[in-house]
Each structure stands twice: as structure tokens, then as C-alpha cells.
Point group: C2
Chain length 170, copies 2
């Protein structure tokens, strides 16, 4: 809080006039960051896609490309979630919203008759949700040293490999 106050050129106590706790400040920051990054517009492309495969690719590009923008904040929120119930719930809600995007992509595949019957809709959604989690991104880019581009391309490839009933195009 001291660091933030200094960077914002206000007193530490002034922060508490606006945010009751550190967690609350962090949560408010997530909304602000979404706003300046126009997170909703980013996901527009995937909703506009015609085929299921297109939608899957577009969603992976959109969300996968968004993660690096929010990673620092995501880390802070995840760390906060260990001790703060409100932060945990706020982050969980954002992730549930993101899961809906995953589900919509899987449903689009299903609608095209292209969803691999090895996986139910729910299971495919859970798996896609996991591949696109911040932790998975963190592991592949930071621990494995993959570039951002390699991350999105490989994620698209394995998603097609796993979820498509016929391998539809690379």
C-alpha cells in the first residue's frame, strides 16, 4: 500500500479513503484494467465466427492474447486469493465468465457435429478452460520458455487435436 501510494503521489492513508482494504483496491483495479483494455471487444471476434473451429481458434487467440496484459494483476489476485475471501470470489467469478466463452466455443463445435465424442460437452469445456488458465499460460511461457505466439499456436493445435472429430485443417 505504501508503494502504491508513493507511485500515485498520495498519502498511504488516502488510499484507505477510497478502498477499505488492499484486496478491495486490487479488485477495483481488475475492473479498471478490463475497461482500459476493452476486454469485451477482444472477445467480439470469437462471437462473430461462423464455424465452430473458427470460433475455437478466435477464442484462443483473444483470451490467450489477453493473458499477458493482465498477468501481473492476475498473479496479485491469485496470491490475494490465498488469504482473502472477497478476492477469491472476485477472481472465481471472472474465471467462471471466461469458462462461458470456452463453453460457447465447444457448443459451436458440437453444433457443427465436429465435437469428438470421446469428450462430453462439460468435459471438453473443463479441459479447454484448463488449457487457457492463467496458470497453464504461466507454466508454458515462463517455466517452459515458450513464446506468446508458440503458446497460442500450440494451444490451438492441441485443442483441434483433442476436440475435433475429424482433423480439420493445419
Amino acid at each position: 500500500m505504501s508503494d502504491i501510494a508513493r507511485r500515485a503521489d498520495v498519502s498511504r492513508q488516502a488510499l484507505y479513503l477510497h478502498f477499505a482494504t488492499r484486496a478491495e483496491l486490487l479488485i477495483a483495479t481488475t475492473f479498471y484494467v478490463d475497461e482500459i483494455n476493452r476486454s469485451d471487444e477482444r472477445l467480439e471476434a470469437s462471437r462473430a465466427a461462423r464455424s465452430g473451429v473458427e470460433r475455437l481458434d478466435a477464442f484462443i487467440d483473444a483470451w490467450g492474447g489477453y493473458i499477458p496484459e493482465i498477468y501481473s494483476l492476475a498473479r496479485a489476485m491469485l496470491a490475494m486469493s490465498d488469504t482473502d475471501e472477497a478476492a477469491r470470489e472476485a477472481w472465481a467469478k471472472r474465471m467462471r465468465d471466461m469458462r462461458e466463452g470456452c463453453e460457447a466455443a465447444i457448443v459451436a463445435l458440437e453444433h457443427d457435429g465436429k465435437l469428438n465424442p470421446e469428450h462430453s460437452r462439460d468435459q471438453a469445456t473443463d479441459l479447454l478452460w484448463t488449457f487457457l488458465s492463467v496458470r497453464t499460460w504461466e507454466h508454458l511461457t515462463i517455466d517452459c520458455g515458450w513464446s506468446q505466439e508458440r503458446y497460442t499456436e500450440t494451444t490451438k493445435k492441441i485443442a483441434r487435436q483433442m476436440f475435433l472429430v475429424e482433423n480439420g485443417g493445419d
Copy 2:
């Protein structure tokens, strides 16, 4: 530290006679837990496997089954890694060791001529490493509500689906 001391029926200061910092205590605990859980024996089965597919399955069973045993400690280590360099390095080393198990399973597949050429050895290793990470286990079992059994079975299934050149048996 107070809590631990109380549970161990010693004074808080006695802990500092044995472990210089909280991080050091945590790191020492990981060695202890490995010892009482005979973590090396668990991975024996996968080394004994004849075919690559068998080895892959055995490794997923062994490591996947070990995660729940160490999860609390892993969480503590991961949280500590945010602030403590020694803890980060200790955890990273354990994970690098685990990655060798992943690589050995992938190499065994490769040796049988069964590794899907879509993925290089390194890439397949990184992906298997990611699927078997504590964070992925955490996401699937805790956030998605999967049972432990479902986690290992599904992980085996997607590993076969992704890494095997011909779908070899379910």
C-alpha cells in the same frame, strides 16, 4: 511459525534453533514428506514398464496419485516461492526432476515409434509436464470438481490422444 510450534509442543524460538527461516523449515519438510511417502518407490513402476504406452500410463498414475499427498505442502511452497528465492529454487528443482520422468515416458514412446510427429520430443515433454503440474491438478479437481480417479483417467486418455500416433487402446 507460532502455530507450528504449538502443534509440535515446543516454543516458537526452538524452531529457529533448527531452521533459520520459515522457508527453510518448509523446504526441509518437503524432504521429510518425500521420505515418509517413499516417493522414489512410487515411480518405480513406470521405470519397470515394458512398452512406452505402459510407461506413460504408469507415470501418470504414479505422479498423479502422489499429488494429493503433497498438495498442502505444494501450496505452501508455491506461495512461499512468491517471496523467497530459496523456496522458489527448491520447488523448481523438484519440478525439473519430475519433468525428467515426463521426458522418459515420451522418449519411451518415441523409441516404440509411437510418438505423434505433430509434437517434437521437447514439446510433448513440456505438454505432459503441464498436464501433470500441481496447478493443473488443482484446477481440475478443485475448480472443476473432478474426482481423483477422473483426473488420472482423463489425463491418461488425453495423453494417449495427443501423443500416440495410432490410438492404442481404450
